[in-house]
Each structure stands twice: as C-alpha cells, then as structure tokens.
C-alpha cells in the first residue's frame, strides 16, 4: 500500500518569511498525483496545489510552489511571503490506485 510521511508535526514561520513543509511517499506505481491540502481550524479541507507525476516541471500557485523529486519520492511545499491566513494544518496526499494522506503539519504564522 502507498504511504505518505510528513516528518514535521509542527512548523512556525514569521509573517512575510518563507517556509518549506516536507513530504515523502512510497509507491511502486508510475502514474499518480500528489497534492497539498490546507485545513484551517474547524474548516473545510481545500486544495492548495497539485502535481502530476509525469510532469517534470514543479507546480506553482501564486505564493505556493512545490519541489517534486520523483526519484527520491519527495514532494515539499514552499510558502513564500507567509501570511497570517496561511496558518492551518497542511496535508500531503497521494492519489494513484487509492488516495492516502499524511499525518499533517501544523503551521503557525507569527505576526
């Protein structure tokens, strides 16, 4: 079964600074998607960014970008110019033959 590992239970960043959240995964599949989801406290899970495994170019969405290293099975999320509204749980997720989530990283943004 595919596994997703987020090794940072908590991270903290100063407002306007940059932070990187780590994610590794294990799979024998060649065709899959990777995602970062954001879950604010008591609120809905929303998609931050997605990456198709066949694409070599790293995905970017405004202040959010990923570093996708397929051979290393690594998929980190970089948040630039952090804002107070970025504070949330961030989940790395894998979708191939099934959909799996990591345990999450709680991001705190300090004003």
């Amino acid at each position: 079964a595919q596994t997703v590992t987020q090794s940072q239970p908590e991270m903290s960043v100063q407002e306007a600074e940059t932070v990187t959240l780590s994610c590794t995964y294990d799979t024998s599949e060649s065709d899959y998607y990777l995602f970062w989801y954001k879950q604010p406290p008591s609120r809905q899970m929303i998609l931050v960014i997605r990456q198709e495994a066949y694409k070599q170019q790293n995905a970017t969405e405004n202040r959010f970008s990923v570093n996708f290293q397929k051979a290393a099975k690594s998929f980190s999320l970089k948040i630039s110019d952090s804002q107070l509204g970025d504070a949330a749980m961030y989940f790395c997720a894998y979708r191939g033959s099934d959909m799996r989530f990591g345990a999450g990283t709680r991001l705190t943004v300090k004003p």
Partner: protein, 113 residues
C-alpha cells in the same frame, strides 16, 4: 458550482447508539469517498465508490460501519453501534472522472459519550 454537501454538521450520541451521515457530491462527480479524521490526525479512507459500486472498503470496520450509494449520487454512512473511539470528523469528498483532486465537504463531527 455547488460544493460537496454534508449533514449533519454535528452529532452527539451515547455509545451503542446509531448514527447516519449524508453526503451529496458535486454534480457529475462519479467518485465519492468517505474519510474518518480523528483529532490531530490525517484523514483515513473508509470507503470509495465509483458511481454506485464500491472500489475500496478495506479499512471500513464492517462489523459496525456501513455505507451505500444507491443511485450513484448521494451517499449515506452509518455507524451501529457506536463506540467511544468513533469520535471523529467524517469527511465526504468527490472527484470528477479523469481529474486528480478531491473536493471536500465541511465534514460531520461525531462525539460519542
């Protein structure tokens, strides 16, 4: 486009009672998922439907949990009888054919006393 709808948002029950959660996915989304999210943890897949067929229910505790999606649209997740450890948020998500990402509902928070 309307999002994934779930109800109820909150439910408190005594152990050994039963509870049912309802989910209406985004129109046209053939794939529907139910996840259990215990506080402080990532979502755990309970069951995945493709239209009205079950794709994966390997982590569904079938002695107490059941789910159905009779007409390939909305779905119901039932727990009977509930245990204390079932206290969690139950998330429903849907996905359109060929697209990667899941769209989530707001979740149903269950407290078992």
């Amino acid at each position: 486009e309307a999002g994934v709808a779930q109800s109820p948002r909150y439910k408190i029950i005594e152990k050994r009672q039963s509870v049912a959660f309802w989910c209406n996915p985004i129109s046209g989304h053939a794939t529907l998922y139910w996840y259990q999210q215990i506080l402080g943890q990532g979502p755990k897949l309970l069951i995945q439907f493709q239209n009205n067929g079950v794709v994966d229910d390997s982590q569904l505790p079938k002695d107490r949990f059941s789910a159905e999606r009779l007409k390939g649209v909305d779905s119901t997740l039932k727990i009977q009888p509930a245990k204390l450890e079932d206290s969690a948020v139950y998330l429903c998500a849907s996905r359109r054919p060929g697209r990667g990402e899941l769209f989530f509902g707001e979740g149903s928070r269950l407290t078992v006393l």
